[in-house]
């Protein structure tokens, strides 16, 4: 017997770990994965984000102007009418052409709803920008696909200038971490993101043209250069991302009302965009779901869930339209739902503070 064989026999009875034994490690991994999913929103590019957490968050909503309330009442009427009309059509726009989602979905007229959203958004009040050394607090909930998955709650703090991040690690310890500059990271600090939003065109057509041609979203890093994206898909994704990011960023400070109005009007002009009713976020709040149906056989439908009166971003919901397999393994069966919900946010002076 040579030395290697003797060595191979040493501690050879050591067992492979059983699933039970590995459960805590697996849960810890899935917790991290859930945080990335939620922090990412629709931004597939945000995987590059160091630390894997969402970088930005939302300020508590500001009181609405009287005109918004009036607008909300008008919308309720408009939606009721649209639904009544949609009854005679085959599921409404963008719904059933490619098989459609598994459960019955009711749709509204996207032109009516998104114009209403634009009117409401255009009349929001604004607030002054946070200081670079202030922190954005964000609390959100994620519900993973699968019947037995409990919603998970996450809290995170991001310094407005993006230099530090804070939160609880999977073992429950609070930690503040530096975010070193990363030239390979195309993600922006909250401050830089707010600056980017302020520079965007406020005219819907110009905004749409800008988003379609924005190299920030087109020039992929070398390792993703083989990926291509349909311009309509990208336009919808980027506009959704602006709405989500603004929601985390301190809406009133970061999102110019006229820009938000232009985003809804631009969305209404993208072929394949639709509006679904009764879409719920991860904590069960009902909203309207704005979505885009690309050509072909999409794997899933992703909804941006908006509060139906204020049109604030509540969260997101993804519904698998068909089975997703990796090789022979069924990972997500058709009908699986992943959802998130933004449940609290604030601008605070120190990490760990919540108001």
């Amino acid at each position: 017997m040579d030395d290697l064989e003797t060595l191979r026999g040493m501690r050879a009875e050591a067992p492979r770990a059983e699933a039970d034994r590995l459960r805590p490690a697996r849960d810890r991994l899935l917790t991290e994965a859930a945080a990335v999913s939620a922090g990412r929103g629709r931004a597939r590019r945000a995987w590059r984000r160091s630390g894997g957490r969402g970088a930005v968050m939302r300020r508590r909503s500001i009181g609405r102007a009287g005109v918004v309330l009036a607008g909300a009442l008008a919308l309720v009427t408009a939606v009721a009418l649209v639904v009544a009309q949609a009854g005679g059509r085959s599921g409404g726009e963008g719904g059933t052409a490619h098989g459609g989602p598994p459960q019955a979905v009711r749709y509204a007229d996207k032109a009516v709803v998104l114009e209403q959203a634009a009117l409401v958004a255009g009349s929001r009040s604004t607030a002054s920008e946070p200081r670079p050394d202030q922190w954005l607090y964000r609390k959100y909930v994620v519900r993973q696909p699968g019947q037995d998955s409990e919603p998970r709650v996450f809290e995170e703090w991001t310094r407005y200038d993006g230099r530090q991040r804070a939160g609880y690690d999977p073992m429950g310890r609070f930690e503040v971490t530096d975010v070193p500059p990363d030239p390979g990271d195309d993600d922006l600090s909250p401050e830089a993101y707010a600056g980017k939003l302020r520079k965007l065109p406020r005219d819907p057509d110009k905004l749409l043209a800008h988003v379609r041609g924005d190299r920030h979203w087109i020039d992929l890093p070398a390792e993703e250069a083989h990926l291509t994206e349909d311009p309509d898909v990208r336009a919808f994704r980027v506009l959704s991302l602006y709405l989500e990011q603004a929601a985390y960023l301190g809406q009133a400070a970061a999102m110019p009302p006229k820009l938000e109005a232009a985003i809804y009007r631009a969305m209404a002009r993208i072929p394949g965009v639709g509006v679904a009713l009764d879409v719920r976020d991860a904590v069960g709040r009902p909203g309207i779901g704005v979505f885009h149906t690309p050509a072909g056989q999409p794997l899933m439908r992703e909804y941006l869930v908006l509060q139906p009166e204020t049109f604030r971003c509540l969260g997101s919901s993804r519904v698998w339209l068909r089975d997703e397999r990796i090789g022979s393994e069924l990972v997500f069966p058709s009908g699986s739902v992943y959802s998130s919900a933004e449940t609290a946010s604030a601008i605070v002076d120190r990490p760990g503070e919540r108001s």
Binding site: D2, D3, L4, T6, L7, R8, G9, M10, R11, E13, A14, P15, R16, A17, E18, R21, L22, P24, A25, R26, R28, L29, L30, E32, A33, A34, V36, S37, R44, W47, R48, G51, G52, Q144, P145, P170, E223, E324, I326, G327, S328, E329, V331, F332
Partner: protein
């Protein structure tokens, strides 16, 4: 790609690289990689450090791997070298613990690492004379040489895979393995009595 039938990472239609690529869009998919490799990785770490440290190291390995999954070289279908390389760094932080257990085993014949899993399987907690000699040799190796030797002997990695895992040239794998096996052969042959004493340098 070369499919090793006994290796879950390469046996199915979707190799590890595909799973990692998928996990960029669907982070949950990374759990598949965990299910494929965690049981065997846990066994490997258990053999080196005992099973309580193995829980933490396996957990930290997959979390670290997940966080840097966008940098995975997707031309490599089998993720084992990548995962074992990450684990090697984490194991390295416990080298005092590891070396202490080899020394104790060499001195007393009692194996505290085997005792750590003896409640789960029938394990030989008292080592043979040959294994005591071997433990003495393991204690005397540098961290780099020991990593190479044990990745070959206990993790069944090929030279190329060890080179990938430790990010060293294959030639360095060969020379480290040669050096390490000179010690283990000498220990078993009883030729090199300095092997155990030299271990104190690395404790």
């Amino acid at each position: 790609m070369i499919a090793h039938a006994d290796r879950p990472g390469a046996a199915h239609g979707a190799d590890d690289a595909e799973v990692i690529r998928r996990s960029l869009d669907e982070p949950d998919a990374f759990a598949l990689l965990f299910d494929r490799h965690a049981p065997e990785l846990h066994r490997y770490v258990t053999r080196r450090l005992g099973d309580s440290l193995a829980d933490d190291i396996v957990s930290d390995t997959f979390l670290a791997a997940f966080r840097r999954r966008d940098r995975y070289d997707t031309t490599r279908p089998d993720a084992r070298p990548w995962l074992y390389g990450i684990a090697a760094n984490l194991i390295g932080k416990h080298r005092r613990t590891e070396v202490r257990s080899y020394r104790a085993l060499a001195r007393t014949g009692a194996d505290e690492v085997a005792e750590s899993y003896a409640d789960r399987v029938e394990a030989e907690v008292t080592a043979s004379a040959a294994q005591r000699e071997l433990a003495g040799a393991l204690a005397s190796l540098s961290v780099g040489d020991r990593d190479v030797l044990l990745l070959v002997a206990w993790a069944d990695l090929s030279y190329e895979e060890v080179a990938d895992a430790l990010d060293i040239p294959v030639g360095t794998v060969r020379s480290r393995l040669h050096r390490a096996r000179k010690r283990t052969r000498a220990a078993l042959g009883g030729v090199d009595p300095t092997a155990v004493e030299e271990g104190t340098r690395h404790g």
